[in-house]
């Protein structure tokens, strides 16, 4: 579904990603682990089109997307929850979610039916989600997110900035799902959250994947991320140094020493 070929991306004067190769197949959870500053976030920002690679290709469903503007990439079905959640603090919870569905208001997206969130919704309710008026589609999508995170429904009129960290993370994920993506990029969703909320977030990620959504998960919490993932990549100073099945990487002594603190 997504393939990075020899990606080099500079951030200011520093080349943060230096020749990354990576592949995500449809329906997978792939974890990208590595220490601070290894180039994980830069990789995600390159996929989303916020940063332009100096060299290399980003191929999404057979199409080269490096150099496309971010909103085009979102409209193709790639959605990102960035590090630090980046909730709009002065927009209400509901408005934050509506912004996630911004492209839908235009009736621009023709792709993405039957997969990802929509697929899950269809399966969950056992009914067809025919797309009619964009307003109805928006209401359906909101309902779906409120089912996933009921606390957001209670808080929908509150300003985003007033939510707790865990609620903000749920809002950030919910907002990214509003566009009905096929591939979800998650950057450090567990960062700074209480363990009980981390468990809930990871459970949600597993459920979303079970519903057909492909996920690229960037984490410093390597143990949890590798347990969840089908496959994993280890990135060190801008290069992928290891890749493999999640469980294999978990049992690897070198990885244990470096990232799992054992």
């Amino acid at each position: 579904m997504l393939k990075l070929e020899n990606i080099h991306t500079s951030y200011g004067h520093i080349e943060a990603v230096r020749g990354t190769n990576l592949e995500i197949r449809k329906g997978e959870i792939v974890s990208l682990i590595g220490s601070n500053g290894a180039g994980k976030s830069t990789t995600l920002m390159t996929i989303s089109g916020i940063l332009r690679p100096v060299k290399g290709k980003v191929i999404f469903e057979g199409r080269e997307i490096q150099g496309l503007s971010p909103h085009k990439i979102v409209s193709m079905g790639v959605s990102q929850v960035p590090e630090g959640r980046r909730i709009f603090p002065k927009l209400t919870v509901r408005e934050n979610l509506e912004m996630g569905a911004y492209l839908k208001g235009k009736g621009q997206r023709a792709k993405g039916k039957g997969s990802g969130v929509k697929g899950q919704e269809a399966r969950g309710k056992g009914e067809d989600t025919s797309r009619g008026d964009s307003r109805i589609a928006l209401a359906e999508q909101l309902d779906h997110i409120f089912n996933l995170f009921p606390v957001l429904k209670e808080r929908q009129k509150q300003l985003g900035g007033t939510l707790s960290g865990g609620e903000q993370q749920m809002l950030a994920i919910g907002r990214a799902l509003m566009s009905g993506p096929e591939l979800l990029l998650l950057d450090e969703p567990s960062l700074g959250l209480a363990p009980i909320i981390v468990i809930k977030i990871f459970k949600t990620i597993r459920e979303l994947n079970a519903g057909g959504l492909t996920i690229l998960l960037v984490e410093q919490n390597a143990k949890a991320a590798l347990r969840l993932a089908h496959r994993g990549y280890v990135i060190e100073s801008g290069r992928v140094t290891r890749e493999g099945i999640g469980k294999e990487l978990l049992d690897d002594p070198a990885i244990k020493r470096a990232y799992l603190g054992e």
Binding site: G49, P70, H71, V74, P82, R86, P89, K90, E98, Y102
Partner: protein
């Protein structure tokens, strides 16, 4: 006397507020003081004279005054929006990632260019606004109010209410607020930042065009240099309300108008223009964030 000054103050205040909105919206999104904005207002005043002149010569005004005025307003707004749109594309967009001082200097350059462009094409002498609008004067208990003053106050209030609804309720308006808060996140959600910036310039310029038109009717005279002083006053109004805040610009405009006319009435009308600058200096010393502005840390 007091009520009379209040009415005069609300009239100019409405105009300042309309111009100030353009400053504050652009600042909210780009953190740029668009010093060319006053010239857009001046061009709006000229366009009003030109279009109304054409319609009057063609006989349309005599046939139907409301239709002629309506077309004048629509065309002036469209042309001014096109100016604002083009200025952003040519003078600011290429400098989007440059240090903050560069677009500011570019804005000053655009301002000088537009002033001279109008002076060369329209002449350096005052232009007279066609006397087509019948002005009636209403008098009650010692206060005089012209129909034009009422029109200016009502139109500016209506436009502000419309803008407020647009920003709060529509998809594009919400996207404008989202872009003002976090551009990277907005683009990660599929919002086309360039389009939102263009919309901001188009709306701001349209409001300035209406302000220019109304002032041209109110004072009857237009000059290529009126954009400078009006621009600085509207900028003061925007800072007074809290730059970046849309309701702040509205309130700031009216407060500045009132300060000016009360100052002119009770202290000295010679210093009328100076009051705005005294206010600007005082705000910068006492409360630089303005009435409604909050001191925000820098966005990531």
């Amino acid at each position: 006397m007091f009520l009379q000054q209040i009415i005069n103050g609300l009239t100019v205040g409405g105009v300042y507020a309309l111009i100030a909105l353009g400053y504050t919206m652009v600042y909210g999104i780009l953190e740029l003081i668009n010093f060319a904005h006053g010239e857009i207002y001046m061009i709006g005043a000229y366009l009003g004279i030109i279009f109304l002149g054409i319609f009057t010569t063609a006989g349309l005004t005599q046939y139907s005054l409301p239709l002629s005025l309506f077309l004048t307003v629509v065309l002036s707004v469209l042309f001014c929006s096109a100016y604002g749109f083009t200025v952003e594309k040519l003078a600011y967009k290429p400098l989007r990632n440059a240090p903050r001082l560069n677009p500011l200097i570019s804005a000053i350059g655009v301002s000088i260019f537009l002033q001279n462009y109008v002076m060369l094409t329209q002449g350096a002498t005052d232009k007279v606004f066609p006397h087509v609008l019948p002005v009636t004067t209403i008098e009650f208990s010692g206060i005089t109010m012209t129909s034009l003053q009422i029109i200016i106050i009502v139109v500016s209030l209506l436009l502000m209410a419309g803008l407020h609804l647009f920003i709060m309720k529509t998809r594009t308006g919400k996207a404008m607020r989202a872009v003002a808060q976090d551009k990277v996140m907005a683009s990660l959600l599929g919002i086309d930042i360039d389009r939102i910036i263009s919309v901001t310039f188009i709306i701001g310029s349209g409001l300035a065009a209406v302000a220019g038109l109304m002032v041209a009717m109110y004072y009857g005279l237009v000059n290529y240099s009126i954009g400078y002083i009006a621009g600085i006053k509207a900028f003061t109004a925007a800072v007074l309300g809290g730059i970046g805040s849309v309701p702040g610009a509205m309130i700031g405009g009216f407060v500045l108008g009132l300060i000016e006319s009360l100052g002119a009435g009770y202290l000295s009308s010679e210093y009328k223009d100076a009051y705005a600058f005294i206010v600007l200096i005082l705000i910068l010393m006492v409360k630089p964030t303005g009435l409604l502005g909050k001191s925000e840390g820098h966005k990531p």
